[in-house]
């Protein structure tokens, strides 16, 4: 299959998304541990409170301190759901950020940087890897580039540079506050950076100070120091940085929006859905959810008491899934959250839950594999594994959420599916979703329903856990229920749960378990199986977190008068063949968009539907797709200039 990739660092040709709207991306970078994330939280909060829609994405290395991390915050006065390829304003208090991201600054953009870095040579930045170094040297046509060289290069692209000596800024502050300690407070560079940016673009100062105080709320002294630094830096920027290319005044707020972090969709979904047991083993990017549940899992209930989710950190993922299943057998809604390597260890026990019809929800925050892969980077490469994990044949649901808002409601649906159909549900999430901070409509807990299916609250007469007949789903007792005794075994069993190797019983039990896959497709509403966001001659099929960049790309094309269809498949297994077929009615050219190398969903699609896939847009660099990448790829397809397989490469 023909394949095209582009790895040149300066291949971006960026246009303003739409002239009439604000579409602005701010980037801050620095060594891990230097407060990049705090700065981004501050910036996101100011922008959200100033009335803008915000989409922030964090990128980081598998490292605790020292390696490069960055946060790009995009904002707009209309709904946005993805990152942009370009950066409008960059803040860098270290040289590496300048070296790594200069080429993404858009024409007419700006950079605020520490002028003390001017003479730093790229070859002296130890964390700048040789592969990127080589590409950068080629781009700059210079084997020994310095920060100054890079800045000269971006000046050719009409980028305005605002040099600020961070050291002098600290000295000024120390003097004006009569506090010599400030002189060495390099730890405040992050807050100074974000404050200079806020001052330059004229975001409201009081929002900045509120946000800074909020981030350091636990330490009063630190909060005071940082608030002073913020005020001082903001004033310096607004007084001395002239001819600013952009201003972002406060605008009217959209009601009922919240600023939410990626993992909170599934975390709060679990609390609302009644998940009361979660076992987990630490792994990026899944652990945030479990840590949140442990810290915030006690909630008031309708009797004025409190209910709480018990979170157990286990010795490994095998134990995590085993404990989850054990807890689920007591009738408690139980879950675990993991990523690819952990899920690999869970495969055997997944089959045990399958053969014993145990309702459990396994939240799978994918990252790039195989093996340890890119442990802190994005990927959608575990779909086929989720569909096929475990030996033997057993029923499961594999379900994927497209964004954070969806993931809240979907988490609740997943628990209902697991209870109603008595099977394990694998809820597909990923690193892109987990490391996103965005504005989205507030979760509405009143929309959550709980359906426990055939869970019993009492037993009369003889009880058989795996009673045959009816729709194949038997009334479910649980450990401790009076007169509800049953047996479970990983062996094939009879209706009571005792081991049998009888061929006839075996055949009946296999059918009993697997027939429910058809039932699921009959009973789950179409809108929960697949969603058509737009119809068109050219139609995208995709799943999971590509939804945001696809929708943003479609809006951009719409502005140019081009309509492209999009069917988002949420139920990946059992595959909703009929539903997808209906939604694709009228589509002539099918384009599969996924963040993996082998077009895994496309393979499921091809297994189930007799419709050819004409194009693939794939990305497996470990970085999420941007809306421009998808827009440009779609335009190439429409213009007949695209290869069958387009590989996306943007992102540091």
């Amino acid at each position: 299959m023909e394949s095209v990739t582009s790895v040149n660092v300066h291949c971006l040709i960026l246009q303003p998304v739409v002239d009439s709207v604000t579409d602005f991306t701010w980037l801050i970078g620095g060594p891990q541990g230097s407060g990049v994330e705090s700065a981004a939280v501050i910036f996101s909060q100011i922008c959200a409170k100033a009335g803008y829609f915000v989409f922030g994405k964090r990128e980081f290395h598998s490292n605790i301190k020292g390696e490069h991390s960055y946060f790009a915050v995009r904002l707009s006065d209309k709904m946005i759901r993805s990152s942009s390829s370009g950066v409008s304003l960059m803040v860098s208090y270290d040289a590496e950020t300048i070296f790594r991201h200069y080429s993404t600054i858009t024409k007419g953009g700006a950079i605020i940087y520490d002028s003390d870095l001017n003479h730093i040579k790229a070859e002296d930045v130890s964390t700048l890897d040789k592969y990127y170094f080589k590409r950068m040297c080629a781009d700059l046509d210079n084997d020994h580039p310095t920060v100054e060289d890079v800045l000269r290069k971006v000046a050719d692209n009409d980028v305005v540079a605002y040099p600020v000596s961070f050291k002098e800024l600290l000295a000024d502050m120390a003097e004006s506050h009569n506090n010599p300690r400030l002189r060495v407070m390099k730890r405040m560079y992050n807050v100074m950076g974000v404050s200079l940016a806020a001052g330059l673009i004229q975001l409201p100062k009081e929002l900045l100070i509120d946000a800074v105080r909020g981030v350091f709320a636990k330490k009063r002294v630190i909060a005071d120091l940082n608030a002073d630094a913020a005020t001082h830096s903001y004033n310096v920027a607004s007084n001395t940085m002239t001819s600013t290319p952009f201003t972002l005044h406060a605008i009217e707020k959209t009601p009922n929006l919240m600023l939410v972090q990626g993992h909170l969709g599934t975390s709060l979904g679990k609390l609302a859905a009644g998940c009361r047991f979660q076992s987990y083993y630490p792994i990026t990017p899944a652990s945030d959810e479990s840590v949140y549940l442990e810290a915030n899992g006690t909630l008031p209930n309708d009797t004025g008491q409190s209910d709480a989710v018990v979170v157990v950190q286990t010795e490994d993922e095998i134990s995590a899934i085993g404990m989850m299943i054990g807890a689920a057998l007591t009738g408690v809604r139980s879950s675990t959250s993991t990523s690819g390597p952990g899920f690999s260890l869970m495969a055997e026990a997944l089959g045990w839950a399958g053969i014993n019809e145990v309702p459990v929800v396994l939240t799978l925050y994918q990252r790039s594999g195989p093996s340890t892969g890119l442990p802190t980077r994005h990927g959608q490469d575990d779909l086929l594994f989720a569909v096929f994990a475990g030996h033997g044949e057993f029923p499961r649901i594999v379900y994927a959420s497209g964004d954070i808002e969806e993931s809240f409601y979907d988490t609740c649906s997943c628990f209902n599916y697991s209870d109603v159909y008595q099977l394990p549900v694998i809820h597909m999430m990923d690193k892109f979703l987990s490391s996103t901070t965005m504005t989205c409509p507030a979760f509405d807990p009143s929309k959550v329903t709980i359906n426990r299916g055939k869970l019993l609250d009492g037993v009369e007469g003889e009880y058989k856990r795996f009673q045959l007949g009816g729709d194949g789903i038997s009334p479910r007792s649980y450990l401790g229920l009076k007169d509800g005794i049953f047996w479970n075994t990983g062996d094939e069993s009879d209706e009571v749960g005792h081991i049998t190797e009888d061929p006839v019983v075996r055949q009946m039990m296999m059918d009993k378990r697997l027939d429910r896959l058809d039932l699921i497709l009959q009973q789950v509403p179409d809108a929960e199986q697949a969603v058509s966001h737009a119809t068109g001659e050219y139609t995208i099929i995709s799943w999971g977190s590509t939804k945001g960049p696809i929708l943003d790309a479609l809006e951009m094309l719409q502005q140019e008068g081009i309509t492209v269809g999009f069917v988002q498949i949420k139920m990946l297994h059992p595959f909703p063949t009929e539903c997808v077929q209906r939604l694709l009615n009228g589509a002539r050219v099918i384009i599969d968009v996924e963040s993996n190398q082998t077009a895994q969903m496309g393979k499921l699609f091809a297994q189930n539907l007799n419709i050819p896939i004409n194009h693939y847009i794939l990305k497996y660099t470990g970085r999420a797709m941007t809306c421009e990448e998808i827009r440009d790829s779609l335009l190439d397809i429409i213009h007949g200039t695209s290869p069958k397989r387009r590989i996306l490469m943007h992102g540091a």
């Binding site: 009361r276 807890a327 807990p445 329903t449 450990l479």
Partner: protein
């Protein structure tokens, strides 16, 4: 009506080999549950995989036959979610100390209130007699093509150093003593580990019933059973008060006893400590009402709607 031993038996055909030590264990377990009057539907027995894994099918309580090596995670998850259950986990020595050794150590650290019984016969019976983790170096039971070249695990020693708060050994042909050990293990507050020496008549032709009885000893006059009871020697396994020196002393003596083998094999309680907090008490530091309102007692919905209110959390994230 008082429960009888027969009430704890199922009609499931038992396919263990004639003379298997496992029979003694399942009988003693049924007798213990009956004698303690533990309600059948308040009891859950979990097992691993192997001959011992079938145990749950012979006992008329909730019975969960899990995966090879994974009995402890399943059992602990159930007990934490529903602390009202009496939970007993059973499994072979290969299951618990080979494939499941990581879980064995981690369970000791938690000290959840349940009982773990290991059926220790030195071989993997169901797969035709390969060496298990408790088989001694250079021993060669009849199915091994060559002598065993791995050193053995010391189950009692491993349990003691992993934090188990009740550590005991019994012999499957001394049912009275075994029953007493099981009852004390179940009554103990915390994780109880009971290793049961259980001859495999089919594959272990070294540690046989006759061998334990000392019938192989050459000198007929001094010939004696290899098994003796620690309690008959005045041994005191109990940590009487919460001090480091008391604990260290009891741990050390238990560890030394755990090394005994050969002509004198101790059974009985090696170590017992109820002075340290159980897992349930530790959970309470985060969730104060855990004992009254554990996960299993929470009714999560009413008329199809959640009974907890997360609106405060959502409110706190609203952009104001």
């Amino acid at each position: 009506m008082a429960l009888k031993v027969a009430d704890y038996k199922t009609g499931v055909h038992n396919d263990w080999c004639p003379g298997c030590g496992d029979f003694g264990i399942v009988n003693a377990l049924q007798m213990s549950l009956a004698e303690m009057g533990i309600e059948r539907d308040r009891t859950a027995i979990f097992s691993g995989v192997g001959c011992s894994g079938k145990t749950v099918h012979f006992v008329n309580t909730y019975g969960i036959h899990t995966l090879h090596g994974r009995v402890l995670p399943f059992a602990q998850g159930a007990k934490v979610a529903n602390p009202d259950l009496t939970v007993v986990a059973v499994g072979g020595d290969g299951d618990g100390l080979g494939i499941g050794a990581g879980h064995f150590v981690a369970a000791g650290r938690r000290d959840i209130d349940f009982t773990y019984i290991v059926f220790d016969n030195g071989v993997y019976g169901l797969t035709k007699g390969q060496a298990s983790p408790t088989l001694k170096l250079w021993e060669q039971p009849k199915s091994l093509p060559k002598p065993n070249i791995n050193y053995n695990v010391n189950p009692i020693g491993l349990a003691i150093t992993s934090g188990y708060t009740f550590v005991a050994r019994a012999y499957s042909y001394d049912i009275r003593h075994l029953k007493s050990m099981i009852m004390q293990a179940i009554a103990h507050k915390g994780t109880s580990f009971l290793a049961v020496l259980q001859p495999c008549p089919t594959y272990n032709d070294i540690n046989t019933r006759d061998w334990y009885a000392g019938l192989d000893m050459e000198d007929a006059v001094s010939r004696h059973s290899r098994i003796y009871k620690l309690e008959d020697t005045g041994y005191d396994p109990v940590v009487h008060y919460a001090s480091e020196s008391e604990m260290d002393e009891k741990l050390s003596q238990a560890l030394i006893r755990s090394l005994d083998w050969g002509d004198k094999i101790p059974t009985g309680i090696f170590y017992k400590n109820e002075t340290i907090s159980t897992f349930s008490q530790r959970i309470q530091t985060n969730i104060p009402n855990y004992p009254e309102n554990p996960p299993s007692r929470q009714s999560i919905s009413k008329d199809g709607k959640p009974t907890v209110d997360i609106s405060n959390i959502v409110q706190s994230m609203l952009i104001s």
